[in-house]
Each structure stands twice: as C-alpha cells, then as structure tokens.
Symmetry: C2
C-alpha cells in the first residue's frame, strides 16, 4: 500500500489531499474520491481511502477546505461548511478539482471513477453528480440531501446511492422526500436510497460518538451494511 | 434439488404449498417461506423457492388462498386479497400455518427461519413480523406496507427489510412514511427500507410486464439488487 499527500489547486486555493493505492498493481485502475465530513480531512476519510485502495482503487481523500484545514469547534465547522454551501459553484469546483487531480494520475482509468462522501462530504459527492461530473457512481453516507442547485433534467450521469439514517436530524423525512422528488424531476436514470432504521447522523464513523458533531452516533451494523451496499453498486457499474 | 407439494391446514382451509430443497445436503438447514403475489401461488414464487433452495435453504412457497387457488382476473385478485386484508387475523394465521409446516420438517432448523414475499405476499411477510412470529428476518418485495394492525412496541422480533419501487403506486410516499413511523413507534430493533428509483410495482417479477396487475413493470436491475440486499441481510442474521 502506497500512501502520500497529493497537492492540487482550485483557483487560488491550495488543496492537500491524501492518496492511497496498491503500488504492486499494474495497469490503470478505477479511481475513487472520498469527501470528508465538516470537520475537515482527517483520519476517518484517510482510513476509508486506504480501504478502497485495498479493494483495488486508486483512492484520493480530497481536501475541500484548503491547506487541509481541520475544524476544532462547531463554530469552525459552521464557518467552513457554510461558506461552501453558500457558494455551490465553488463547492462544485473544488470537488471537480479533486476529480481532475485523481483522473490525471497515470495509475487511474479516468473513465472509471466513483466518489463517496460522509456528512458534508456526502453533499459534495451529490453536488458532483448534480453537476454532471464524469463519475460512474456516487455514494452519500449520512449526507445532507438538500441543495441550492437542484439537478436539472438529464444532467446526472452517475448512478446515485444515498445511505441515510432514518433518525438523522440533518436529513429528516421532508428532506428525504424532497430529494426523491428532485431525482424524479431530473429524470435521473439510476438512483437508490436506503434508510437505516434507528440510525442517526454519523453512523459510519466510529469517532462520531462523543465528537463535537451534534446528534451523531456510530452504528456498526449500518456502517457495515452501507459499505457493502456501496461496493455492490460500484462493482456493478465498474464491471 | 428435490421439489414437491406440501399440504397443510389452517382451520378448515386446505393449503397446498410447494417445497424445494437440496436433498443431498445433511443436517438441519435454515427454512425460508415465500409468499406469493395477489395472483396466487404460481411459477414465480416457486422459482424463487428453488433459488433459495440452491442457496441452502429448505424453501416453502406458501399457499395463502387455499387449494392453491389462482386468480385469473383483477376482480378475483381483489376478492381473494381483499378477504384476507379485511381479516388480518386470518391472514396472519395462514402465514403462521405455513411457518409451522416448514418448521416441522425434519430438514429444517426451526430457530433459523426467514420469510419473503412479493406484492400481497410482501404484506404477509410483514404481518408475520408484526405478529411477532419466530423469524430471523423478513423481506418484502414491492409489498403494500400499510396494515390494519400496526406493530406494537417490542412485538417485532425479525429483522425487517423493505424493498420498494420509488414509483410503486401501491406503496406511495405517504405509505412509506407511515411505515417508517410505525417501525419507530414500535421500537423495531432492526429495520431498513430501500427505495429503487424509477422502479414500479412488480419490479422483481419478469412476468409483471403485460400481466393483469396494473402499474406493474419488471426492472431487471432492481430485481437483481433487491435479491442481493435480501441475501445480505439473511446471511447476516443466520451467520
């Protein structure tokens, strides 16, 4: 397993991602983006990138905040996430910069890339899909599903998989219903949404318990199931 | 693969199920019930029973109408299904009779049974779960999710998996929302619900196209995915 930082830019912003891949493998491999939570790029997204690398992907844990900034307080989370939510064009551009950096690597089959994200990062993965990015599939884990720029008809090329806790206060039933309506209205060719009963926000992150994120709780069962559902879709679209 | 009819009774009603299992296998195996659609026990449920038998289950495609009645018209479907929906106690008793007949077989590990169902049969599987039947898990494929007897707190022992088409007119968004509320209120320990985008009623049945069932359409992708999701859960709870 080879891991290293990968620096790339979006406009004037320096972004410092984390790359993981099997350097014994030969030939081009599918690429996978991992978008971090509101806390910034840290151990959790890196660990998921390594797991994807173990499955044969060239995985890039992207940096959405610049200079690999990490939030230490809820106020910082709100400021960093809020700034990007308020400017979805910037958010999408940063996500696309990560995709471009990944796709440009000699080890990556640029036509076979996927993206996943957690919480805020789930939104980023969905925003890339809405933006028509060249991704085979995206998976959002306990992500916020609302957007300032709903998908337009025919725009989404990726297969979309939403993995959400039925008790996630950041993705309540009304938001889930609105997301489904968005997918319908945009005539998205392939989308699925899984609701995990009893699961709260942050169900996939063992560090959720006791973190500064409110209403977050790790759920080992939902973590395992959602990871398997993701691989099920990815194996299908990359076959 | 051994297949044969299996007769059993519920009160005065003679029920004629269809049994499938691998008769080269030794020892007790998990049991699986398959509940048919509103058309009655026919080729489709039998084929699913054989598939489950190939995976190591002793599978019983149950007969919910008696004497293996099959409906030829929508009026007959309505009459047969309506009579049972109006009397949920009878519906549950017939489902339990199938479970008892399966569990009594010497090849079956009675403590390791699961149930699946399609359309009307999905409702039957859910009714057994609501009734607290000794099932490790139930999976409903494009089933109606509403009930006259909502689950009471703590009653449901089975893990519950609902696989539903986002465009199924028999399980519209309000019904899906009400089902989730029922699961929450009953504090069901393990439940999941998957919405397949673009999928209509009957998505798992290749015979749905052009059948007398309204608004039904086969969807090979949703069929494959839902079958995999079912095995994912069953493998987990039977491990």
């Amino acid at each position: 397993m080879h891991t290293r930082d990968l620096d790339y830019r979006c406009g004037d912003t320096n972004l410092r991602g984390y790359l993981a891949f099997n350097n014994d493998a030969r030939g081009k491999r599918p690429g996978a983006l991992v978008f971090h939570e509101g806390l910034g790029l840290g151990d959790f997204a890196m660990e998921r990138a390594r797991r994807l690398a173990e499955r044969g992907y060239v995985a890039l844990a992207a940096d959405m905040f610049g200079e690999r900034k990490q939030a230490a307080t809820l106020q910082e989370v709100s400021a960093l996430v809020g700034a990007l939510r308020d400017e979805p064009a910037t958010l999408r551009a940063r996500g696309r910069a990560a995709l471009a950096a990944l796709a440009a690597l000699p080890e990556v089959d640029a036509g076979r890339c996927v993206a996943i994200g957690y919480c805020f990062g789930g939104s980023v993965a969905l925003e890339l899909a809405r933006d028509g990015a060249e991704l085979k599939a995206v998976a959002s884990f306990h992500g916020v599903l609302s957007t300032k720029l709903p998908a337009t008809e025919g725009a989404v090329k990726a297969s979309v998989l939403v993995l959400t806790g039925a008790e996630d206060p950041l993705a309540p039933p009304d938001q889930v219903a609105a997301f489904k309506d968005e997918m319908r209205a945009a005539k998205v060719a392939d989308w699925q949404l899984v609701s995990y009963g009893n699961a709260l926000h942050g169900f996939a992150n063992p560090a959720a318990d006791g973190s500064i994120m409110r209403a977050a709780l790790y759920d080992a069962q939902a973590d395992r199931r959602s990871w398997a559902a993701m691989h099920g879709l990815f194996d299908e679209v990359l076959a």
